[in-house]
Amino acid sequence: MHELSVTQSMLDIVLEQAKRAEARRVARINLIIGEMTGVVGDSVSFYLDILSKGTIAEGAAVNIKSIPATAKCRKCGSIFELGEHDWTCPACQGDSFEIVGGPELFVDSIEVE
């Protein structure tokens, strides 16, 4: 749902970095997106096609590294993916966790020519 503004913000960062590198064209954009953000990769690609028209990022490929929603048990230190129906530590049945993966929303790198 929020992919339009996320994609616009992402494109702003990409164009700024590409300009700084005096690039002629952006060939690829590598993103890191955590599952907890609910950002849908296909929607980002779709909006990028529209938003990048007439910029040096037009036609750039988008590569998304997805990070699963991951928790660390405060009791035993186990790291596990958060399930969809139950949040209990699979190792010790603990019920207090620290989120260690899932909220990421980063431009990791860009490939330019």
Partner: protein
Amino acid sequence: MEIKVLKDILSANDRIAQRNRQLLDSHKIFAVNIMASPGAGKTSLIMETTKRLEGRVKPGVIEGDIASSIDAEAVGKMGVPVVQINTGGECHLDANMISNALGSLPLPEIQVLFIENVGNLVCPAEFALGEHLKVLIVHTPEGDDKPFKYPLMFHAVDAVIINKIDLLPYVKFNLEAYTKTVKSINSQVAIFPLSCTTGQGLDAWVAWLVEMASSLTR
């Protein structure tokens, strides 16, 4: 050629949010970002809380909606300074919209600012506004599975208000299990079961809010 960027996509929004926060702090205004799904009772909670703050704390309200000004009209009738933001299709408020709205409010007359976000459990969690507190309202008819579906929202907030507890006998909502689930990924969160219709539980929430707000001016 590959260029390493490693930059938060929403960093531009975060910068504007920091400016909002400085402006709010300079006026000693305590801002509360209220998020919920549609119909959970955001406007009701703001109105009931405002009534209970009368004579103690001066409120102000920013109403965020995709369209219409129904909520702002309701709040305005109570004599509270209010500004309506219509996002024109955007599913959340962002820091720039708040920056513009702050320019339309009589800031010296406000001590607690309620920001009613767009009804949505996904996107508002991502966008910092410059607020001091993030509050999520859930309501018992929506069922007790929402933490599993929207973990980021439950992870990001300072308080969860469970509204419409007067309907507990009629809906599938296990209050005890729900509280445990929310606390498992957010150990610091404050949880307030209440009903804006009967008034049950509202005093505890208002007392906590006043305590949090007073910590700003100390």
